[in-house]
Amino acid sequence: MDMILSALPSLLSGAFVTVQLVAWSLALGLVLALLVALALLSPNRLIAGPAALYVFLFRSTPLLVQLFLIYYGAGQFVAVRESFLWPLLREPYWCAIIALTLNTAAYTAEILRGGIRAVPFGQIEAARALGMHRGLMFRRIILPQAFRQILPAYGNEMIQMVQATSLASTITLMELTGAARTIASRSFQPVELFVIAGAIYLAMNFLIAQAVRWGEKRMAAAA
């Protein structure tokens, strides 16, 4: 019990790092995913091709491998170490956010692409008939409907991201799992510590699931 009480501050500060990783990578990932999804839908092959390659690469390799390559792999090159990106890439914190962002954006882009394509063509025809130009049509007609469509799938992705952050401990970042492992390695009581860490993850994902459900209801009401 004493062990658990003395471990709580480190676990909570680890949980705070986890929250930061999730927030950054989901926010950046969503923006990137939107751009990639639009590129995927482009009739121009020079735009759609690279986007499809990116999605293929990041969905077909394990996140652990991506994390390792971005952190240890990129640092091997002198050119990278001397580039303007190094102040960012030398920090495990930003390497983790970059890897998580690229990974979630690939999945989210596919989800979004499906959502956009599911918008009935009649809606687009109607918008055109009203004289809407492309940008306005996307903002007012296509994206709101696409988002409503994808919310359940995107909720899944968010929950998986929370769990994926646990891999960041392999590149020295002391997020929740890393903090639990570090304490367990000195107290030799891994079961107790991982039960607490698991409970904190559970609480985080419960909040996300509730938020998604609330969002679904709200959007359904608006429709």
Binding site: R90, T172, M174
Partner: protein, 293 residues
């Protein structure tokens, strides 16, 4: 409905408990090659701590400790079965009965001795700091060659204070769950930014990228890095550290309450020290004699 859930939960808990249970039956049945020594003897090692234990190009475990254990097992009349295992989960896994012994450059410390039993020590090597050759830290003079933490003399305390001042604000790497991590936390934790690596090899990789300016590890495992081409731009600096929380040399860890196995291991180790085979292995793998008396 409720009954169903309760039954399901109970089944889940029992299954989980079974997973972690000490496999008593497996330990007694088909063993007893030499009174309480299991056959085969399941030995956990890390495979990422050269030259103590590492994986060669063909994926086989090699190193000082692998050779030593093969000899120990032969002397005990049993066979060694090596398992590569992540460093930071080894002691809990040993307690859960997943293997019989840990041979992984593990230092004998009071903290660990509360959880496991240790054989007599087989090697002892001090801890050293490493930085790039070009780093000004290399020019610092700390006044002493060695700091024994068991009893800190005023000169040694002065060296520690000087080291704290020199390292202030620097990023320092250690392997997680090691005596080096413990030392860094306790003596330097408030002045340096500490990065904890899963393996010593990843720590060395990040020394090369410059993400960490200073690393702390065992002298012998540093040598393995410094002698490779990648390590040519790096050197030791400052005093060597041992004693106190660095423990009493490296030993074989086994679960508590296995006196027969402990006695057999100690007997084999004593024989190896007496007939010079420990010294030979040490010279072969480390380049010098690190054997403990």
């Amino acid at each position: 409905m409720k009954k169903w859930i309760a039954a399901l939960a109970l089944a889940g808990v029992t299954a989980l408990a079974g997973c972690g249970q000490n496999d008593q039956a497996g330990q007694t049945a088909g063993t007893n090659a030499a009174g309480g020594v299991p056959n085969p003897l399941r030995v956990a090692t890390e495979g990422a701590y050269p030259p103590y234990n590492m994986v060669d190009a063909s994926g086989d475990l090699v190193g000082f400790e692998i050779d030593m254990m093969k000899d120990v097992c032969k002397r005990m009349g049993t066979e060694c079965q090596f398992v590569a295992q992540a460093w930071d989960g080894m002691i809990p896994a040993l307690q859960a009965g997943r293997f019989d012994a840990i041979v992984a450059g593990m230092s004998i410390t009071d903290e660990r001795a509360q959880a496991v039993d240790f054989s007599a020590g087989y090697t002892t090597t001090p801890a050293y700091l490493v930085s790039a050759n070009a780093n000004p830290l290399q020019q610092e003079d700390f006044g002493v060659e060695k700091v024994d933490l068991t009893e800190i003399t005023p000169e040694e305390q002065a060296a520690i204070d000087k080291l704290r001042a020199a390292l202030k604000g620097k990023v320092m790497g250690v392997q997680t769950a090691t005596i080096h991590a413990n030392f860094a936390e306790q003596y330097l934790g408030d002045v340096v930014t500490l990065r904890r690596y899963d393996t010593q090899e990843n720590l060395a990789l990040d020394m090369q990228t410059g993400r960490i300016e200073v690393g702390l590890a065992d002298a012998v495992t540093w040598n393995a890095f410094l002698q490779r081409p990648e390590g040519k731009d790096f050197s030791f600096f400052g005093p060597g550290f041992d004693g106190g929380l660095f423990g009493r040399g490296q030993g074989i860890a086994i679960a508590k309450n296995r006196p027969d196995l402990l006695a057999a291991l100690n007997k084999a180790l004593a024989e190896m020290k007496a007939d010079g085979s420990m010294k030979n292995l040490s010279v072969q793998w480390f380049g010098f004699d690190t054997a403990m008396p």
